[in-house]
């Protein structure tokens, strides 16, 4: 049986949105899939050397569970985003959810190929040294080389 392939496009640079690509990529790799993730636009944040800057936000996100009801304008106050992020991180730790860094390391260990979008790197003025070693730069055509033969292709 030929090896199955999973292709993921990661476009979000929030702490919570970093989980789906890394969870699915690492799990697929453990199941024997060949996996590639193409990080574009805000998704590039998931390839930065440190992921400490990633945050969650409740703004524009009415589905986020809150410990207490809070008017949206209050949620927009300075410091709220950092506060919610540290709450989320401590809840995750308590519940045995892996840190994003750990999941990313597990992906790298499992040979998940990470491609950073060259256009976005140029657009936002990043330098290749801002990103983890092992990341490759490429464009849409590079992604399609793998995605075109994939069994599963997900946009996140």
């Amino acid at each position: 049986m030929a090896t199955k392939k999973l292709a993921i496009i990661a476009t979000k640079g929030a702490l919570d949105w970093g989980y789906p690509p890394f969870i699915l990529a690492s799990t697929a790799a453990a199941l024997g899939y060949d996996v590639q993730i193409f990080f574009t636009f805000y998704g590039l944040q998931l390839l930065r050397k440190s992921l400490n800057h990633l945050k969650v936000t409740s703004l524009g996100n009415p589905g986020m569970p809150m410990p207490m009801p809070m008017p949206v304008l209050l949620q927009a106050l300075p410091g709220m985003q950092s506060f919610m992020t540290s709450m989320m991180k401590s809840t995750m730790k308590k519940k045995g959810v892996a840190s994003l860094e750990d999941l990313r390391s597990l992906c790298i260990e499992a040979d998940v190929k990470m491609i950073g979008c060259q256009m976005t790197v140029d657009l936002f003025g990043f330098s290749p040294s801002d990103f983890i070693p092992g990341m490759e730069l490429g464009g849409a055509a590079t992604f399609f080389e793998f995605a075109g033969e994939s069994d599963i292709c997900l946009f996140m």
């Binding site: 690492s26 199941l31 024997g32 519940k95 959810v97 892996a98």
Partner: protein, 77 residues
């Protein structure tokens, strides 16, 4: 309870860590050897069945006691 060639304590870990650690632990075994995994993630029951089915490693035992799930996998030859 039969002895296994390797034990993995995945208690307190949440999805997908029990599966990822299991995969890693299986890498240290040779075909036919067995691995016992203890987990507390309720999602693990279905996940271990699915893992076994997709990877060809046989799930030879699966049980639950006091909120802990025990799985024994035999590595694919």
């Amino acid at each position: 309870m039969a002895t296994c060639d390797k034990e993995l304590d995945a208690r307190g870990l949440n999805c997908p860590l029990p599966i990822l650690r299991t995969k890693k632990a299986l890498n240290d075994l040779t075909g036919g050897q067995t691995l016992r995994v203890v987990a507390t993630d309720p999602g693990a029951i279905k996940d271990f069945q699915a893992f076994a089915k997709q990877t060809g490693n046989e799930l030879v035992e699966s049980g639950e006691a006091n909120g802990e799930f025990t799985f024994v996998l035999r590595k694919k030859a």
